[in-house]
C-alpha cells in the first residue's frame, strides 16, 4: 500500500513540475494548453493520493473535488481551443 | 478455474504484443491495420474469456461478451474508415 502510494505521489509531483516547465518554454498556445492540462492532472493525482490515506475507504471528498476539477479544466480548455482556432484564423487572414 | 484463466490472459497478451509489433514494423497502412485489428480483437477476446473464467460469474461473463462484441464492432468500422480514407487519398494522388 505505502509503496504504491508513493509512486503516484512522485508522479503527481513530476507532472506538476513538467506542466510548469512546459507552460513556460512552449511558445505555441496549443502546447501551452496541453501543459496546463498536464499540470492539472498532477494536482488531481495529488488529491487522489491524499484521498487514499483515509482509513476505511477512499475519501469521497477529494474524489468529488477532482471530478469538479476535471469538468472545469475540460470546459476551460475547450474555450481555450476556440481561442487558438480564432488566433490561427486571424493570422491566416494576414498571410493572404 | 484459475489456471486456465491465467493461461488465457497470458495468451491474450501475446496476441496484443504481436499486434503491436506488427503496427510498428509493417510497411504500409493496410498491413498495419491488418495486424492491429486481427491480433487485438483476438487478444481482447482471450482477455475477456480469461477474466470471465477467473470471476466465475455468468453476469460478468455476459457483460464481458458484450464488451468484446462492441469493441469488435468499433474496430471494424474504424478500420474500414481508415482504409477507405487512405485508399481515396491514394487515388486522388494518382489522378493529380
Amino acid at each position: 500500500m505505502m509503496a504504491g502510494l508513493d509512486v503516484y505521489a512522485l508522479a503527481a509531483a513530476a507532472l506538476i513540475g513538467l506542466g510548469f516547465f512546459g507552460l513556460i518554454v512552449q511558445m505555441h498556445p496549443l502546447k501551452r494548453l496541453l501543459a496546463v492540462n498536464v499540470l492539472g492532472n498532477g494536482v488531481f493525482l495529488a488529491l487522489i493520493v491524499i484521498a487514499r490515506r483515509l482509513p476505511g475507504g477512499p475519501d469521497p471528498v477529494p474524489h468529488a473535488m477532482v471530478l469538479t476539477g476535471i469538468v472545469i479544466a475540460v470546459s476551460a480548455t475547450a474555450f481555450g481551443l476556440a481561442l487558438v482556432r480564432r488566433q490561427a484564423r486571424d493570422e491566416e487572414g494576414d498571410d493572404e | 478455474m484459475t489456471l486456465p484463466g491465467v493461461a488465457l490472459l497470458l495468451t491474450g497478451l501475446l496476441f496484443y504484443l504481436a499486434g503491436t509489433v506488427g503496427l510498428l514494423r509493417f510497411p504500409d497502412v493496410y498491413s498495419r491495420l491488418h495486424a492491429i485489428t486481427k491480433a487485438d480483437n483476438v487478444g481482447l477476446g482471450l482477455l475477456c474469456l480469461g477474466i470471465a473464467l477467473l470471476s466465475s460469474s455468468w453476469g460478468i461473463a455476459a457483460l464481458l461478451a458484450l464488451v468484446w462484441l462492441l469493441a469488435i464492432g468499433a474496430a471494424t468500422v474504424g478500420c474500414h474508415l481508415i482504409a477507405r480514407h487512405s485508399l481515396l487519398e491514394r487515388q486522388r494522388g494518382r489522378r493529380e
Binding site: A11, L15, L30, L45, I50, R52, V74, S75, A88 | -
Partner: protein
C-alpha cells in the same frame, strides 16, 4: 501489483515529458490522448472508478477529438520551431524542478488528518439518500460546488461562441464517411447503445460509480459521434428551446434550492421524504445540460441541426 503501479506512474511521466517537448504538434496531441487514457487507468488503480469514467469520456475522449479537430482547423501545422531564450529555459527547468521537489516532499511528509470530512461523509451516507459516497458529496453535502460548476460550463460555452470559430459549421463531411454502407449501420447500433449507457450511468450514480457528469459525458460522446459522421451539423443561430436545455441543470438545481429555503431554513436542503426524487430530477437535468454543453463546446457552433442521413 506494485510493478503495475510503478510502471503506470513511470509511463505517465514519460508520456507527459514527450508530449510537452516534441516539436511535432500532431504527435504531441496523440501522446496527450494516450496520456489521458493512462490517467483513466491510474484512476481505476487508485480506487476512483468515477474519475476513470469521467477521464475516459471527457478527458481523453471528448478533449482528444476536440484537440485533433482544432489541429485540422488550424490547417494541420506541423509544429512550432520558435525557441525560447536560454535564460527562460533555465528558469523554467529550475522552477519546474523546485516545484516538483517541493510538492514531492510535502506529499511525502504530509501528516494524516484524524478527522477528515470524508470520513464523516462516509458515516452519514444514509442521510444523503444515496449509497454512492461521491454522488452524496457532489449532489448533497457539497451540492453548492456542483451548482456553481454548471455556471462555469455555461460561461465557457458563451466564450466559445464569442470566439466565432465553430469547428463543425464549415467542415463538410469527410470523404471517407460519405457513400459507405458500414457507417449508417454502425451509427444505428452504437448511438442507441451509448444513449442507453449514458442514461443508465446517470441513474446508477445514486448507488454505484456514475452520475450526472459521467452519464452526461457519454451522452455527449454520442452527439459528437453523430457530428463526426455528419448526421448532426452545427447551426448558425441558437434557438430558445436549445438555450433552455443549456440552462436546465443550473435553473432546476438552484430553484429547487431556493424554493425549499422556507421549508428547511437552508439553501439546497431537502426534506427527507423528497430527497430521492429531487436528487433524481436534479441529476437528469444536470446531465442533459452537461451533454448539450459538451456537444456544443465540441462543434463550437451556436446551435445544432440534423445533417443529411
Amino acid at each position: 501489483m506494485i510493478v503495475v503501479d510503478t510502471l503506470a506512474a513511470l509511463i505517465l511521466v514519460v508520456l507527459a515529458w514527450r508530449c510537452l517537448l516534441l516539436t511535432d504538434l500532431f504527435r504531441s496531441i496523440v501522446l496527450f490522448i494516450v496520456f489521458g487514457l493512462l490517467m483513466a487507468l491510474a484512476w481505476a488503480r487508485l480506487d476512483a472508478p468515477d474519475l476513470a469514467l469521467a477521464e475516459a469520456a471527457i478527458g481523453a475522449g471528448l478533449l482528444g477529438v476536440l484537440l485533433l479537430g482544432t489541429w485540422r482547423a488550424m490547417g494541420s501545422p506541423d509544429g512550432d520551431h520558435r525557441q525560447p531564450g536560454r535564460a527562460l529555459q533555465v528558469i523554467a527547468a529550475g522552477g519546474g524542478m523546485v516545484l516538483a521537489v517541493l510538492v514531492g516532499i510535502a506529499l511525502h511528509q504530509l501528516p494524516v488528518s484524524e478527522q477528515a470530512a470524508g470520513a464523516l461523509a462516509l458515516e452519514r451516507l444514509d442521510e444523503a439518500a444515496t449509497q454512492q459516497p461521491v454522488t452524496a458529496v457532489l449532489l448533497n453535502f457539497r451540492s453548492y460546488d456542483t451548482l456553481l460548476e454548471m455556471g462555469v460550463l455555461l460561461m465557457a460555452l458563451l466564450g466559445t461562441w464569442l470566439a466565432r470559430v465553430p469547428l463543425m459549421e464549415s467542415l463538410s463531411g469527410d470523404d471517407a464517411s460519405r457513400g459507405t454502407e458500414l457507417l449508417p449501420v454502425a451509427l444505428r447500433v452504437f448511438v442507441p447503445v451509448m444513449l442507453l449507457v449514458g442514461a443508465y450511468l446517470i441513474w446508477a450514480g445514486t448507488h454505484s460509480p456514475g452520475g450526472a457528469f459521467q452519464g452526461g459525458a457519454v451522452l455527449a460522446a454520442a452527439g459528437v459521434l453523430l457530428a463526426l459522421a455528419g448526421r448532426l451539423r452545427g447551426d448558425t443561430g441558437d434557438s430558445l428551446p436549445l438555450r433552455m436545455l443549456l440552462v436546465l441543470g443550473l435553473t432546476v438545481f438552484s430553484l429547487a434550492g431556493l424554493l425549499l429555503i422556507p421549508l428547511q431554513g437552508a439553501f439546497m436542503a431537502y426534506p427527507p421524504t423528497l430527497i430521492y426524487p429531487v436528487m433524481l430530477i436534479v441529476e437528469y437535468s444536470l446531465a442533459v445540460s452537461i451533454a448539450i454543453t459538451l456537444v456544443l463546446l465540441y462543434t463550437g457552433s451556436r446551435g445544432l441541426r440534423r445533417g443529411p442521413a
